[in-house]
């Protein structure tokens, strides 16, 4: 279908020469890079080529303990620093991120597999904006509405996912430091590199030793961090299953917990919606970052009377999406993050077919190496289908229909998740009525997948608790 366009695009790859990758990286503890005790390492690969990018240290329980101790030592001075001084460190970090954004965007694309278009135009600007936003809070905490002199909690243990490695780091570290906490952060096993580059940014910014510590590793490293008795605050973004396990781990302790978990977002299109805008929003909702987004609009709930028209337009649009080299500036759909994730998406899509839903993908050549999944659309989906209930975390859209607004709301809310939803309609009163009935933390009307550091984000129900972003995001790191 790509040949439908009159002209073929020539390759327009971004140069990777701006990134200087070392063959191996240690843990970042107390301001120094250090090997893991026992010397264990693991490899991180580029999902689009399966090329080994680097080797990274695998932190043991002992290493986690070293990192927490360093953070604890640093806490006393860091939390005692005047807010205005902490702010200046965060402003420095924000500026260095802006300066190095091209390097970081290419690095993130290499390690994650997402298109350079997205790392360059979405991830990196938001990363800098988050540090800039929370920097400004550091000397204004007394006025944030949490009482006079709200206190930091201490050492924050933070575990982040692989879908937005650097952005999730920013969401976690910026408010933690602004409020006077120190941090031990564990990036995801498949995307550790940008966090280690961030360690270098901390060095350039002159951040005191031990304020930020990065421990790389897999789920075991994360579990050790969460369970560490000297951690005062646990923040996690990732799967609902792991979130529940973490909630059990911190039960009966005084650790403050926030969880940002899975979703099965409903994107509701009414018959008076602007169809072309809605199609763009649907594409953005489920194919942005290959659908590996917790707030993805993975359930399209469309009014029956316009279903055929909308699906025709959507299929036409999907046929123009360009899948391939993520470093190519014209690429819309990059690689799936890992072989494991690809297997999961494949299994769930196969289950959709086996359960009787109708599968459609545009004609789409997948590269030979790397992990790829064509944008996929399922029709004839019922609410009982696995693909309508389970989070797929991939470029797979399930289409359901409705006749009345009440039915749309009932279907949208028929999930254990409650993170995001979209509404498409030209009628303001309908948008407001439906928005107020949706049990979801973020509702996008006539738009989708918009983020901003000033805007609280987080879930209802099993999508987790706590909010990140905005004034609300401070609460997770303050003793209130």
């Amino acid at each position: 279908m790509a040949s439908a366009s009159a002209f073929e695009y020539a390759p327009a790859p971004e140069s990777r020469s701006v990134v200087d990758l070392a063959p191996s990286y240690g843990l970042f503890i107390d301001g120094e890079f250090t090997d893991a005790t026992g010397g264990k390492v693991f490899k991180t690969v580029s999902p689009s080529t399966e090329e080994v990018l680097s080797e990274v240290a695998e932190a043991s329980e002992e290493d986690v303990d070293r990192a927490v101790k360093a953070a604890r030592r640093a806490f006393e001075k860091w939390s005692a620093l005047p807010g205005a001084e902490r702010a200046k460190y965060l402003f420095r970090i924000a500026r260095i991120i802006q300066e190095r954004s091209r390097e970081l965007a290419v690095l993130e694309t290499l390690d994650n597999g997402k298109p350079i278009k997205e790392t360059r135009d979405a991830d990196l600007p938001l990363v800098a904006a988050h540090f800039f936003y929370y920097a400004g809070w550091a000397d204004k905490l007394d006025h944030a509405g949490f009482g006079a002199e709200p206190r930091p909690l201490g050492v924050a243990g933070q575990v982040i996912p692989w879908n937005f490695p650097l952005l999730m780091l920013a969401w976690k570290i910026a408010p933690a430091l602004a409020t006077g906490n120190t941090v031990v952060l564990k990036p995801a096993e498949t995307t550790p590199l940008s966090a280690l580059f961030f360690a270098d940014i901390c060095r350039q910014a002159g951040l005191p030793k031990g304020v930020v510590n990065i421990v790389t590793g897999d789920g075991r490293t994360g579990a050790a961090l969460v369970a560490h008795p000297d951690v005062n605050k646990v923040a996690f973004t990732g799967s609902t299953a792991v979130g529940k396990a973490i909630a059990r781990t911190v039960a009966g302790t005084r650790k403050k917990l926030t969880l940002e978990l899975g979703g099965k977002g409903a994107n509701i299109v009414f018959d008076d919606a602007p169809i072309d805008q809605a199609v763009e929003g649907i594409v953005n909702g489920i194919f942005f970052n290959q659908g590996q987004v917790c707030c993805a609009g993975s359930r399209l709930i469309v009014q029956e009377s316009i279903q055929d028209e909308l699906l025709d337009a959507l299929k036409r649009r999907l046929s123009t999406l360009r899948l391939g080299d993520p470093l190519d500036k014209n690429t819309d759909i990059g690689a799936i993050n890992s072989a494991e994730q690809l297997a999961r998406i494949t299994a769930l899509a196969d289950a959709g077919e086996a359960e009787g839903a109708e599968r459609w993908s545009p004609a789409c050549e997948l590269p030979d190496a790397g992990y790829w999944f064509a944008p996929t659309l399922f029709t004839n989906v019922t609410q009982a289908h696995t693909i309508a209930r389970e989070e797929i975390f991939g470029p797979v859209l399930s289409v359901l229909s409705f006749r009345t607004p009440d039915e749309a709301v009932a279907k949208a809310n028929n999930t254990q998740y409650g993170l995001s939803a979209g509404i498409w309609s030209e009628k303001g009163s309908r948008i407001l009525a439906v928005a107020s009935k949706l049990r979801a933390g973020v509702v996008w009307s006539n738009t989708f997948n918009k983020f901003d550091p000033t805007s609280p984000f987080g879930g209802y129900k099993e999508s987790g608790f706590g909010r990140e972003g905005g004034r609300h995001g401070l609460e997770a790191y303050l003793d209130v």
Partner: protein
């Protein structure tokens, strides 16, 4: 003693779905004052009673959460009015339940009445305190507002049978949640009498459900219940609190851990916000706006 009149005892009952049932189990337990004098037989609730209460609370949630904040404030204030009229009854019940002098019990009841008034005034203000416009960097109207989380299970404090109960219950319903309350195990009678007040105060049936019995028996099923959204562990000891928090992880309930609270002090907003979600709604805007207008 010839003119001594034999008093009429009250059969204390549960409060579920706006009705006053006995426990479906048919069980009761002896309630005594701190000096071990018999006061009454209270229903010994079963896990089935707890499940029934959750069903009632869920059913009531749509209407209560959908009521205007002004209306909810009126209803909470009405509770204070009704309590004021029954002040003497509650002074006696609290004095008996907690072994307090008349004057101390009176102070406790007054504080509890005032607490309803305090929370009545919060219903239509909390959204402005914790919500508002977000100045995002783009052409969007972006607003965050608090919404009730749903059905909240409440383990009422054990040592403060009335003021403690009111202090944990009022904020839950002020914000539009519905509640399933387990009264203080040893001193449940003021709570069961409060049900009569709630019932005559325009609180819709099912918004508050009150159970008496053993927290160790009923609370685990509430903590594990898939249709309960949050749990307040105020009345749980350390061991039970941990067990319940682990069970609550199953559907990621919001958990308010037990902590030492001086119930006589004016509360902050912690108990209001603990059972609120924040919903952020984005809408596109054009470039037009008052701020950008030229006159």
């Amino acid at each position: 003693m010839s003119d001594a009149r034999l008093s009429v005892f009250k059969t204390y009952k549960l409060y579920v779905g706006g009705k006053f049932p006995r426990s479906e189990s048919g069980r009761v337990y002896e309630v005594t004052d701190p000096k071990n004098n018999w006061l009454a037989n209270a229903p010994l609730s079963s896990r089935k009673d707890a499940r029934d209460a959750v069903v009632a609370a869920r059913k009531a949630f749509g209407g209560w959460s959908g009521a205007t904040a002004y209306n909810r404030g009126q209803v909470l204030y009405r509770v204070a009015e009704m309590l004021e009229g029954r002040r003497e009854q509650f002074v006696r019940e609290v004095a008996e339940a907690e072994g307090l002098s008349k004057s101390k019990a009176a102070a406790v009841v007054d504080a509890a009445i005032d607490r309803w008034v305090w929370y009545a005034g919060w219903t239509d203000k909390i959204a402005q305190v914790v919500g508002g416009a977000n100045p995002v960097a783009g052409p969007f109207f972006n607003l965050s507002s608090p919404e009730p989380t749903g059905v909240v299970a409440v383990l009422a404090p054990q040592e403060s049978s009335f003021l403690g109960l009111v202090s944990v219950l009022a904020p839950v319903i002020a914000t539009g949640n519905t509640a399933v309350v387990i009264a203080a195990e040893k001193a449940p009678l003021p709570a069961l009498s409060l049900a009569e007040v709630l019932d005559t105060s325009d609180v819709p049936g099912g918004v508050v459900n009150i159970l008496s019995g053993r927290p160790s028996e009923i609370a685990p099923s509430l903590a594990a219940h898939q249709d309960v959204n949050a749990i307040d562990l105020a009345g749980a000891d350390e061991e039970l609190a941990k067990e319940l928090e682990i069970a609550a992880a199953d559907n990621l309930k919001r958990v308010l851990r037990p902590r030492d609270v001086d119930f006589t002090a004016t509360p902050g907003t912690e108990r209001l916000t603990a059972f609120l979600e924040t919903k952020t709604v984005w809408h596109t805007t054009g470039a037009l706006g008052a701020a950008g207008s030229s006159y």
